[in-house]
Every structure is written in C-alpha cells, then in structure tokens.
C-alpha cells in the first residue's frame, strides 16, 4: 500500500506490523510522534500491546528489559538527551543479550541546547554493544525496524538494535512509503521465541555477577555475536528483498563507487543529497561515488576496504565530533584502510551539527576540495565547519 508518511510514522507502523508486545518510552523531540502514534494505535485497537508510560528513559529501557526477559517482543524510541540518560541501561541490555529494538531520532546533544539533527547522540553510543543501523529514507526506517527484530532475535546474535533516523530530516519529513502487508510481515517475522525466560519452573539469574575469571568470556561472546551479526544483517536484508522486493544494502550501500576517484562516506539521510550531487558531477565527467554505511556496528571494515580500495581520495562526512580527535566515522574508516597496499587519502569533514543544513552545495564543495587534494596525505578537517 502506497502511503505518504514521515519517518516517525514509518517507525510506528513497523512496530504495529511487528506485533510488538510491550512498548516503554519517554517523549522527546523529535521522537515524540513515534510514541504518540503508538499510543493512538493502541487506543484505536489496531495494535495489541502494552504501553508503559515511564517517568524517564533510564526507566524506559529498564522496563523493556524486564518485559523482554519474560519473553515479550519490546520496543522503545528516544533521542539525544534521552539516549544519553539511558546510557547505563544500554550497556546493561546488550550485556544481557536482550533483543530490544530502539528507534533513535537523531539529534544533537546539549550544551548548548539543540533539538535539531546530528548523529552525535547515537555515535557516542557505538561502544555500547548495540547494533546500529542508519537509514536513509522513511521507507528504510520502516523496513529496517522489521529487519531489526529478525537480527536482534536471531539466536546467534541476540543483541539489541538501534535504528537511527535523522531527526526532522527523516523523522518529520513525509514522503512516499510502501506499507507491507501484515501477512507478508508475519511470514518474514514470526513471533519471538526466546530460549530463556523468567519462569519459576526453571529459575535463572538474569544478569549475573562474574569474576575476573568469567567476565571476559561473556564479553568475547558479545563480540562474536556482533561478528555473526554482519552476516545475519545481510541475509535478513536479502530475505526481506525476496518477500518485499526491496533491499537496503545490508551493511553498506555503495553508489557509483566502482570506478570512482573520490568517494564520500556518509550515514543516514544526507546520502540522498549526496547522490544528487554525485550524479551531477558524474555528468561533468568527475568520477565521484558515495558509500553509505548502513551499519556502524558491527563496523563493516571489510566492506569499506573493498569499496574504497581503488579510489584516490576518500571524504568522510561526519555529522558528529569526537572532541579532541575528529569525526568518529572518519577515524573508523581510516583504521579500516590501514594495511591496504596503497590506501587512498582520507579527508574528514564535520558538518551538519545541531541541525545545520547540509546542502548540495556543501557536498559539491567537499568533492571539489578532494579533487584538489594531494594524493598521498591524510588530512583532517578536525574542527566543526560553520558557515
């Protein structure tokens, strides 16, 4: 069914299609419409779920955790300050291997206060043990939320998933979205069947304490699950394609990279703008491409290496800043390229913080600067660019 909805509504629709049991969430701009829409779906009877109206985000994720260990399929959504406020619980949920799915409507972090888009909020959570998928369109937001449950609940993965969509730019922007049929979704995503749940008949401790002898093994298991998730993410995307006729690239989504001299690495919505620019420059005969990282965790190091090995300059567009170093994606891409025989030069650009609009002209400027860049050197445009 062809619909015209925004990213938040697409997420809420996915929650309904996934037949989520329990939702616990706390409002925050620009995520609020997600939970409002879920509340409306429950009130109208379209969705049979419990919505726990928690008093904070830390509690939101704790309530999700509590419900999940009883075997529920759970969902939460947040943004920015809310994500930061549940930071302790993020580690706890991933360490507990509980398959929560969370939508993050990306927004910058205070201080200063902002309610507008950048990726700082979720990028700073890349070490929390969550799978992180960044989407480009409202359609992908919907599709990826559905895929996220398949990935998170996969017995070989059992790792929570964040689905990140740019605040406003996706969350509040309506566009054409194809809504999958419920029956098809039911085929794609069967009910959650956890192996270990809270039940008096088989008592377990959830979240044990572990001494120095045992603890590392749990962490190793977490890391291995992430490694397996690489493949699962790709497989699930393919399976989704077979049923729904759409795929989103698995871990990475290269665009005109094959023979590109300059490739721009992106996350999320800005990719669309970059595609426009790439097409335009290609018409001028300038060989540029765009590599969208759909997964930031697990980090697709192998795929990045493969996609970028042949080009001369890699530009990385970071909508975040790891203060005192550079954009986080830039660092990670560089790390992935070390060891290549003749690695491309990498130039980092920090742009679009706190809702700063990323225009076609900005992206064109990036490409043109890279064209001019010397071949060998690694540049760092470490500071945030302001206009």
């Amino acid at each position: 069914m062809r619909e015209y909805i925004n990213g938040n509504e697409a997420v809420a629709r996915a929650v309904r299609l996934a037949r989520v049991d329990v939702v616990a969430a706390y409002p925050i701009t620009p995520q609020s419409p997600v939970v409002e829409e879920i509340a409306a779906q429950i009130a109208s009877g379209e969705l049979d779920a419990e919505y726990i109206r928690v008093e904070s985000e830390h509690a939101a994720l704790a309530a999700c955790y509590g419900a999940a260990v009883t075997g529920m399929r759970v969902f939460t959504a947040t943004s920015s300050q809310g994500l930061a406020y549940m930071f302790e619980m993020l580690h706890y949920v991933s360490g507990s291997r509980v398959p929560v799915v969370m939508a993050v409507a990306n927004r910058g972090l205070a201080a200063p206060w902002t309610i507008w888009a950048d990726h700082q909020d979720s990028i700073v959570c890349r070490d929390t043990g969550w799978i992180q998928l960044y989407v480009e369109t409202a359609q992908e937001a919907l599709d990826t939320c559905l895929q996220a449950y398949r990935i998170a609940e996969h017995p070989e993965v059992l790792t929570p998933v964040m689905v990140c969509l740019d605040g406003y730019v996706l969350s509040h922007t309506e566009e054409v979205v194809e809504i999958p049929a419920q029956e098809a979704v039911d085929t794609f995503l069967p009910p959650y069947k956890p192996q270990r749940v809270v039940e008096p008949e088989r008592p377990l401790v959830f979240g044990v304490g572990a001494g120095p002898d045992l603890y590392p093994a749990f962490k190793q298991a977490q890391q291995e699950a992430m490694d397996r998730a690489r493949e699962v993410i790709c497989r699930v995307d393919e399976e989704f394609y077979r049923i729904f006729g759409r795929r989103h690239g698995g871990l990475v989504d290269p665009y005109r990279c094959r023979d590109a001299e300059i490739v721009l690495v992106t996350l999320g919505a800005t990719t669309g703008t970059a595609r426009e620019v790439a097409d335009r420059l290609r018409q001028e005969g300038i060989k540029v491409g765009v590599l969208r990282l759909r997964a930031l965790r697990p980090f697709p190091a192998e795929e990045v290496r493969r996609a970028l090995a042949g080009c001369r300059v890699v530009a990385v567009l970071d909508r975040n800043c790891s203060f005192g170093y550079e954009g986080a994606v830039c660092t990670e891409v560089k790390a992935a390229l070390l060891g290549l025989k003749e690695p491309p030069a990498v130039v980092g650009f920090i742009l679009g913080l706190g809702g700063q609009d990323i225009r076609q002209a900005d992206i064109e400027d990036i490409f043109r600067r890279c064209l001019a860049a010397g071949s060998g050197a690694v540049h760092q445009v470490a500071a945030a660019q302001s206009r």
Partner: protein
C-alpha cells in the same frame, strides 16, 4: 503578610519570551520574579520555559539563568546554592523552575535529594499537567481522564487512566520547611506564598497551576479564568505545609466540575 500589588516593582524580569499567547507558565514565573526581585538566579531545565526564554537569539530573563539537564534541576540548584553561600552571596535567591514533568517524573529524585540535604532554594513547579514542550504527552501530573497525545481517546483509550501524583504530599513527607500549592488564578495567595518561600531558611517548594491554551485546548484569554475555576471546582486544592502541618483551603459549595471540563478540549470526551 499580604503582598501589596502597588509595591511590587515595575521592572519585568522575564520579558519578550516566546511563550504562546496566554501561557500560564510564563505568568507564574513572571509573578514569582516580581516578588523575589532582581537578586535571583533562575535554574531551569528542558520545558516550555527553557524553550521560550533562553534559546538564542531570544533571551528573555533579566536575571541570571542556569540551564541544566532534565533529570537534575534540583541538584544543580543545590550546587548553585552551595556555591553562592560559599561566596557570601546569601542575599541571592535560587529559584529552580521546572514543569510538572520535570518535577514529578524525571526530576523527582533530584528534588527529593536536594530537599533532604536542606539547601536553601525555592523549587517552583509550574504545572500545566502534561509535557507541553514536546507536544502534550501525559505526565505523572496529568489528571485522570485528560486526553493527551499519549493517552488518546479511542476504542480502547479513555484518556489518562491513573490519578494525578500528589506532589504536595510527597514533598510534605520530606518535612520540607515550607511548601504550598497555588494557582495563578489567585495571585494574592500565590504572591504571599512566594514571599514565604523566599523567607524560608532552607528548601521551599511551590506548586502552581499554570493552564496551557494549546495543551488543554482552550482560547488563551481563559487562562486565568481556568486557573480560578480549577480551584472553585475542587480540582486544584490550595494547600500549605508549614511547621510540619499540611493545611488545605476549604472550598464551600464547589462549582460543578463539568463547568471546568467543558471549556477544555482535553476533557470533552468525559462529558458525552
């Protein structure tokens, strides 16, 4: 100890904000600052108040304002109070302001801790009975029955289904030196209570009803009217806690609550 209106200073200490026309919250803060005067530090937190007064380029306070994260308003206020004390600035009032969400939900713990520690500060909760800044979601202070965007009315939804958290009793249970509820519909009473709070040698708590036109669904000119009606219909008791005693102003012949409900979109479903 009545406050004389004529003696209140002319200077407006919050002016030019981006609040909606007819906002009860900004009125509550304006009146508080009228009594406390320019030697006041406002400590505030995400809420309509922060959104409409301290987003550059529109900064509407004439007193210093310390913004902090949503869960820790009172903790920051405590820090400010301790710091000012050490600097010998005990002539300065510390006025922490939060909406109901920032008070009864996500800010409760910090408030409880700060009150327990006995810092000298005033905590002002302007209660518009929902999360307004983010688009009218229910809070722990939303009254039973009210429609909000997270407690919609539908086949399986009848608006908020839990009673309003009784913050006044919760704070009183902390044996706070002074606490009171108030309504901007009864300014004399409210001003007097602010003054009492200002004179308290320790934490003081004020909880003031502050109607919100878009959030409650009524035209802005009725703000004060509704704040009065809430008291007259018994929906908003005027209470005071002092020297360990909680007293509540009796309402003789309360007006029917329907009168209050009928002019607010959030309650219309209760009337049919």
């Amino acid at each position: 100890m009545a406050v004389k209106i004529r003696e209140l200073p002319e200077e407006e200490l919050v002016y030019g904000s981006f609040a909606c026309a007819g906002c009860g919250g900004i009125l509550a803060v304006r009146l508080a600052l009228k009594v406390l005067g320019p030697r006041t530090v406002v400590v505030t937190t995400p809420s309509c108040l922060l959104g409409v007064t301290t987003f550059y380029p529109q900064l509407a306070f004439k007193v210093p304002c310390v913004n902090v994260t949503f869960p820790s308003t009172a903790a920051a206020a405590g820090g400010v109070a301790v710091g000012l004390k050490r600097r010998g600035r005990e002539d300065v009032h510390v006025l922490a302001v939060a909406g109901d969400g920032g008070t009864v939900d996500i800010g409760l713990q910090a408030l409880s801790g700060a009150v327990e520690r006995g810092h000298r500060f005033i905590f002002l909760c302007y209660d518009n009975e929902a999360y307004m800044n983010t688009g009218v979601q229910r809070s722990g202070s939303t009254p039973r029955g009210a429609r909000t965007t997270t407690t919609p009315v539908g086949l399986r939804g009848r608006g908020e289904d839990r009673p309003k958290k009784d913050m006044m009793r919760i704070v009183a249970a902390h044996d706070i030196p002074y606490a009171a509820t108030a309504s901007i519909g009864y300014p004399q009473d409210y001003l007097r209570k602010i003054q009492k709070a200002a004179q308290t040698q320790g934490p003081a708590y004020l909880h003031v009803l502050a109607p919100c036109p878009p959030g409650w669904g009524y035209p802005g000119h009725l703000t004060v009217h509704l704040a009065r009606l809430a008291v007259q219909t018994g929906q908003w008791p005027l209470a005071e806690y002092e020297k360990g005693r909680l007293t509540q102003k009796k309402i003789d012949n309360p007006r029917p609550v329907e009168e209050y409900w009928s002019i607010q979109a959030r309650f219309t479903h209760l009337l049919s």
